[in-house]
């Protein structure tokens, strides 16, 4: 049987998610054995054209060139999977979406005229059909391996959708909000990090984006009751998944609508 052809593509991102694959030191060689890695510039000089069986996409779309490039990648790829917050929600760089992007460019570049960028940094799914999304900033290496394993076995990958809280309890972390009054996005954030931050005595900052049916209004109301300002709460939602609809809407509700419901 021919091995599935794997390609890894990068758009606007930090490289961390594709590094997760190279960081799977124990499985890396067996992954490389089970698949043909035919396009993965960070790891190999082998650069074959499509079609690809599995394409991993890192990064968001933020330039006209990338907007065109992703279309070709989609045409070339049978199973297209986005990896990480940039690709699934637009990434930290989507913070510019609401802002004056020309002003943003001027703040960083002396003569921004050279740089051709779109006003918005958007997730891959805004441009092409995505077959599977792996969340996280960065993604969880074990989830990535599980997905690859599932694809090899012809299964639907299993990645849990529960909140961070469940993982805190499974690993025996005491709730930092209740016991210490530390603000935490855990109750509304999807698991995947194994409830990392609370185990390091800090509040979850939402790397894996909103959990399904997350009740943000209730959590942010509680945070306000505990003394946080709307600006501070909104700020806590404006991280790597700021453009994920649930976080984005709640942040806007707090700031633009002064907390009034839509």
């Amino acid at each position: 049987m021919e091995k599935p052809r794997l390609a890894v593509f990068k758009f606007a991102s930090c490289d961390g998610c594709q590094l997760s694959l190279l960081d799977a030191e124990d499985q890396l060689l067996s992954v490389a054995d089970a698949l043909e890695i035919v396009y993965f510039p960070e790891a190999t000089s082998r650069m074959e054209a499509g079609p690809y069986d599995i394409a991993l996409i890192e990064g968001s779309i933020s330039t006209p060139h990338d907007a065109a490039r992703i279309q070709q990648v989609r045409r070339d790829s049978r199973f297209l999977m986005t990896i990480g917050a940039c690709a699934t929600s637009g990434g930290i760089q989507a913070l510019r979406n609401g802002a004056d992007s020309a002003e943003f460019m001027r703040a960083v570049y002396a003569s921004p005229g050279y740089i051709e960028v779109l006003d918005q940094s958007t997730p891959i799914a805004d441009h092409v059909t995505v077959d599977f999304e792996l969340r996280g900033c960065p993604i969880n290496q074990y989830q990535l391996i599980e997905v690859i394993q599932s694809l090899l076995a012809g299964r639907t990958p299993r990645t849990p959708g529960h909140s961070v809280c469940l993982d805190c309890k499974r690993r025996g972390t005491v709730c930092i909000t209740v016991a210490q009054g530390i603000a935490c996005l855990g109750p509304v954030t999807q698991s995947g990090c194994n409830a990392l931050c609370p185990s390091y005595n800090r509040g979850c900052y939402g790397c894996f984006g909103p959990a399904s049916q997350s009740n943000l209004v209730s959590l942010t109301s509680q945070m306000e009751q505990d003394g946080a300002s709307k600006q501070e709460i909104s700020n806590s939602l404006q991280n790597f998944n700021n453009n994920a609809p649930a976080f984005r809407e709640e942040s806007r509700r707090l700031l633009d609508r002064n907390g009034e419901p839509y």
Binding site: T88, V130, E133, R135, T159, Q190, F208, S212
Partner: protein
Amino acid sequence: MEIQQLQEIMQQLRFTSDLSAGEQQQLAAISRFEDFSRNETVFTEGTEHPNLYIILSGRVEICMTIPARGCLPVLTLEEGDLLGWSSLLKQGEMTATVVAVEQTRVIAIDAAALAQVCEQDHDIGYQIMRRMSLALSQRLVASRLQVLDMYAVSDEAHTLKQGGTHE
């Protein structure tokens, strides 16, 4: 002779069995037996039709026409089922085409006469309409169930996008 025979049968049919003898007789007076051979059309969608039917034996199918797909059967009716309510309710043209799937014997009731009977005697009219409502409500429930496609293979396309599909 035929009226008597009709009346006897009406005592058995679920549509008419618990009507009073007088009412059954009134109904029998405006009814007659009719037979359709296999593949014979009972009435056609878009036409006006004088009769209402109760099926005694055999089977008919209700078909509706979709261009390029032809006349598609949506429901089959058999013994005891009511057919052709449009003619009684004076809704104008028939809403479907009905064809006998096999040799079928029906009681054909003159719709205009039945309407008149109901009009003149609201007691019997109430009885007839109540039964018809029941039959139609069952038909309606059945149609809903059909629409819901109960047996559709609900593929376990399980949360392909993390969290995404549940929102």
